[in-house]
Every structure is written in structure tokens, then in C-alpha cells.
């Protein structure tokens, strides 16, 4: 009993230690840095998202085991299924196409005439002339190693990237005139920047 009393007494009399001032300094430093970081945090929220290239899915598909619909038992039945499918196709054509894999989904058929004026094949990109820039810079890099040229080159590269991005999104049977008009304006801007670069060489 006495022991317990003594312990309690001793505990009460334990000395108090002062927190070193350096701890507050560290906390204060972090708090002030948080405040100073606000413009960074704002900008970080706006960082761009990069699109995953389609080739990644292709790579994944080639590694993944065949899915349910491609299992061997089905594969063994393929000739039978092929005949059944052909029959279904014939019946389908006869009664009109009424396939309905998603609940509430309706299918429809129509025809439209392709507008030749808005096809990508009709646009000629001057890629060979553009490649010339790379060749000149590789051979005589001192010509390209200045701020004005570098700024034009980065603009040119950006336009090239956008041109490629948009071209690959436009199909062989394009029906969207606005995409062709956007591509044309990128092409014009690219040519303009190209001319300015050539003038510097």
C-alpha cells in the first residue's frame, strides 16, 4: 500500500521538460511552406491527363487467356456454330436485322452517300519538306540552337502531334466536315511556322 502511495507521490513530482523551441520552428516552417505552396497546388490540379495508347490494350489482349466465349469446347463446336450462324444471318436478312444484345437497344439500317470533299486522302501534307528541318538541324545544329528557333520548333512539334492525333481519328469514310476543317487549319498553321523556321536557317 505504502509502495503505491510512494509511487504516486513520485510520479506527481516528476520534473516537467520544456519542449525545445526547435520543434515549433520546424512546425512553423512546414505551415509556412504549406501556405507558400498554394500556387503550386493550384497548378498541380490542372496538370494534363495523358491518353493511354490503344496498343496497350492490344498487348493485354494477347496476354490474357481466352475469354469464356473462346473456350475450347466452343472451338470444337465452331463448324456447327458457323452453319447455325450462317442460317441465322440468312433468317436475319429475311426478317430484317433485329439483333438485341443490350436490353432496350434497337438496330437500324440506312444508306448515305460519301462526300468526297471531306475525305482525308484529299489533303496533301508536305511531310517530306517538313522532314528537311530535322535533317538540317542534325547536320548544322548551331543554326537551330537559338531561342527563337527553339520556340518555333516546339510550336511546330506540337502542331505535328495534333496533326497526327487528328489524322488518326479521322476514318477512311469520314462524315464529319468539322474535323477536316480543323485538320486544314492545323495544316495551315504548321506551314506558317515552317516558313518562319526556314527563314531562320
Amino acid at each position: 500500500m505504502d509502495n503505491e502511495k510512494n509511487l504516486k507521490k513520485a510520479l506527481k513530482n516528476l520534473p516537467a521538460h520544456q519542449a525545445p523551441e526547435s520543434i515549433w520552428e520546424k512546425i512553423n516552417f512546414e505551415l509556412e511552406q504549406d501556405e507558400a505552396d498554394k500556387p503550386l497546388q493550384e497548378a498541380l490540379k490542372k496538370l494534363p491527363v495523358h491518353k493511354a495508347p490503344e496498343s496497350v490494350w492490344k498487348g493485354l489482349e494477347s496476354q490474357l487467356p481466352e475469354s469464356e466465349s473462346q473456350q475450347p469446347i466452343i472451338r470444337r463446336l465452331r463448324p456447327v456454330l458457323a452453319i447455325a450462324a450462317s442460317l441465322l444471318l440468312v433468317v436475319g436478312f429475311y426478317f430484317g436485322f433485329r439483333q438485341n444484345p443490350v436490353e432496350g437497344t434497337e438496330f437500324a439500317y440506312s444508306e448515305e452517300v460519301l462526300d468526297d470533299r471531306i475525305q482525308i486522302n484529299n489533303l496533301e501534307a508536305d511531310d517530306e519538306a517538313f522532314a528537311m528541318i530535322e535533317e538540317i538541324c542534325a547536320a548544322r545544329d548551331y543554326l537551330c540552337n537559338n531561342d527563337i528557333f527553339k520556340s518555333l520548333k516546339s510550336e511546330f512539334d506540337e502542331l505535328n502531334m495534333a496533326h497526327e492525333e487528328l489524322s488518326s481519328a479521322i476514318s477512311e469514310f469520314n462524315t464529319n466536315a468539322q474535323l477536316i476543317s480543323e485538320l486544314t487549319s492545323i495544316e495551315m498553321e504548321r506551314t506558317e511556322v515552317f516558313k518562319q523556321m526556314i527563314a531562320l536557317l
Binding site: 434497337e106 444508306e111 481519328a169
Partner: protein
């Protein structure tokens, strides 16, 4: 006889040279209805899509989607349409609608999507669209649009509006709220300004048409020209800064140039008691033009 034969061959040749390509259009469509809960945002993620969002006075979100595959060969279009899909997801905080192509190779057909979405007036909307047109009108809630290679049209929106566009023009009329626009190689046209506007632009033409006075407009631009059309140019306050560009003003606007040389032009004007100019334009490699235009 030979001549006649050659003429017929020539006619055939002419006919085939002018032959039009007929596309077989296969489409699938669906309609879906959701009961809108407070706290939800309608999120539309389109690709090669034409998206139209309208409002109505019902508490439901109604979505109609049509996906098209177009190819001269119907079987190719049919086949590729199977890999061209839409999804709907409903969670407590959002209703997600999107379309995607899941084919293993690049599609041979022209694949496009059309969305028609009706939302309650107070339903926040968030959209992203690549290679397609985005239209929104009559919304009284927050709106976010992120678009690449497609135009954005907005009409009569009241709420916080955030627009990011790359290679797609922006047109807005009667936008009221905190409007933030970031445009890259996109032209921006705004009419009937009512709220607070912050515009950041790189490469493009910015045209702002005021109905009355320009009150709260901030534009920071690079390699872009800015046109301000104002029916009462002298009633707005301006701070205009152009590096390596010109500032052109209407005759009645007697503005004070703080700096005026080839590399920098800096003009400030405050009408009457106003202390802080409502219009702030800072531009590098571009011109600023203020014009008086008749009241609409």
C-alpha cells in the same frame, strides 16, 4: 462500229470515274432514365460524339444514345458496331454515360455517336468529348467541359463554369457565374456577359461582346488577339497590357498609357469613382482591340 463501241466504253469509264461511294449505315440506339438525386453529377464522356444537353422541369435524367458505324461493306459496319459500345453507371454522386470502341484493331468504318441528354435544371453536368461537338443550354448548375478537336456551344448557363478546350472553338452566350476558360489553339466568342470571367488562352482569337458594361473580365493570353466589343466603352474600367503587340481603342476612350513602346504597351482607365478596372487583359505577342458596338 468500232467508234460506237469505244464511245460506250468511254461512257462507262466516265460513269465509273464519277461513281459515288454509298455508305451502309448501321446504328444501335438506346434510351435510359435515371431519377436524379441531389449530390449527383451527370458525367458524359464522349468520343467522336455529338453531345447535346438540355434541361427540363422533371426530376429525371433521360439519355438517348445512337451509335453509328458507316462503311461501304455492311458486314464490316455491323461487325465493328459490336465493338462500339456505350455504358451507364449510377453511383451516389454521379451518373456516368460514355461510349468507347473496344475493337482490337483500328476501325475501318466511320464510327460516330450522338447523345441527347435531358437533365433537371439544377443538375451539375461534367462532360468530356474528343473529336465531336458539345452543346449545352439552359442549365442552372455547375458545368465542366473538357473538349479536344471539337467545338463547344453554351447558351444560358447559370453556375460555376469551367471550360478547357484544345483545338476546338468555344462559343458562349448568357453565361452567368464564375466562368473559367482555358483555351489552347481555340477561338473564344462570348456574348451577353453577366458573371465573372477568367480566360487563359494560347494561340487563338478572343472576341467578347458586352450587352451593357464589361464588369469583371480577366484575360491572360499568349499569341492571341483580343477584341472587346462594348456598347458603352467609357463606362468600363480597363487595364490593358500588350507585350509585342498593339492596343487599338475607340476615339471616345481617352486612356492613359503608363508605358507605350514597341515591346510593351500598358494602358489604364477607370471611369468615375471606380477604383479597380473591371477589365484586365494581359497579352504577349498579340493585339488588343476595344470597339464600340451598338447595343443589341
Amino acid at each position: 462500229m468500232i467508234k460506237q463501241f469505244l464511245f460506250i466504253v468511254f461512257l462507262f469509264g466516265l460513269a465509273s470515274a464519277n461513281a459515288q461511294t454509298t455508305l451502309q449505315v448501321v446504328s444501335k440506339s438506346t434510351n435510359k432514365e435515371f431519377t436524379f438525386q441531389k449530390g449527383q453529377t451527370v458525367v458524359v464522356e464522349g468520343e467522336k460524339a455529338e453531345i447535346k444537353v438540355e434541361t427540363w422541369d422533371q426530376p429525371q435524367v433521360v439519355v438517348s444514345i445512337i451509335l453509328f458505324a458507316k462503311n461501304p461493306d455492311r458486314s464490316v459496319a455491323e461487325n465493328e458496331l459490336k465493338s462500339f459500345n456505350f455504358t451507364f453507371e449510377e453511383e451516389s454522386d454521379r451518373i456516368l454515360i460514355r461510349n468507347y470502341y473496344a475493337g482490337s484493331a483500328k476501325a475501318k468504318s466511320e464510327l460516330t455517336a450522338q447523345y441527347f441528354v435531358k437533365v433537371p435544371t439544377d443538375c451539375p453536368v461534367q462532360m468530356s468529348n474528343y473529336f465531336g461537338k458539345t452543346d449545352v443550354e439552359n442549365l442552372s448548375a455547375n458545368l465542366d467541359v473538357n473538349s479536344q478537336f471539337g467545338p463547344i456551344n453554351m447558351y444560358n448557363i447559370e453556375g460555376d463554369i469551367g471550360i478547357v478546350s484544345r483545338f476546338g472553338d468555344i462559343f458562349g452566350e448568357l453565361l452567368n457565374g464564375n466562368v473559367k476558360i482555358e483555351s489552347h489553339r481555340s477561338n473564344v466568342t462570348l456574348k451577353g456577359l453577366q458573371g465573372k470571367y477568367d480566360i487563359k488562352s494560347k494561340y487563338g482569337l478572343i472576341k467578347v461582346f458586352a450587352d451593357n458594361r464589361l464588369i469583371d473580365l480577366n484575360i491572360e493570353a499568349e499569341k492571341a488577339d483580343v477584341y472587346l466589343f462594348n456598347p458603352e466603352p467609357t463606362e468600363s474600367g480597363y487595364e490593358l497590357i500588350s507585350h509585342f503587340g498593339e492596343i487599338t481603342l475607340p476615339e471616345e476612350l481617352k486612356i492613359n498609357f503608363v508605358e507605350n513602346n514597341d515591346t510593351k504597351r500598358h494602358a489604364v482607365y477607370t471611369p468615375g469613382q471606380q477604383q479597380i478596372p473591371g477589365v484586365y487583359v494581359k497579352i504577349t505577342y498579340g493585339d488588343i482591340v476595344v470597339r464600340k458596338n451598338p447595343k443589341p
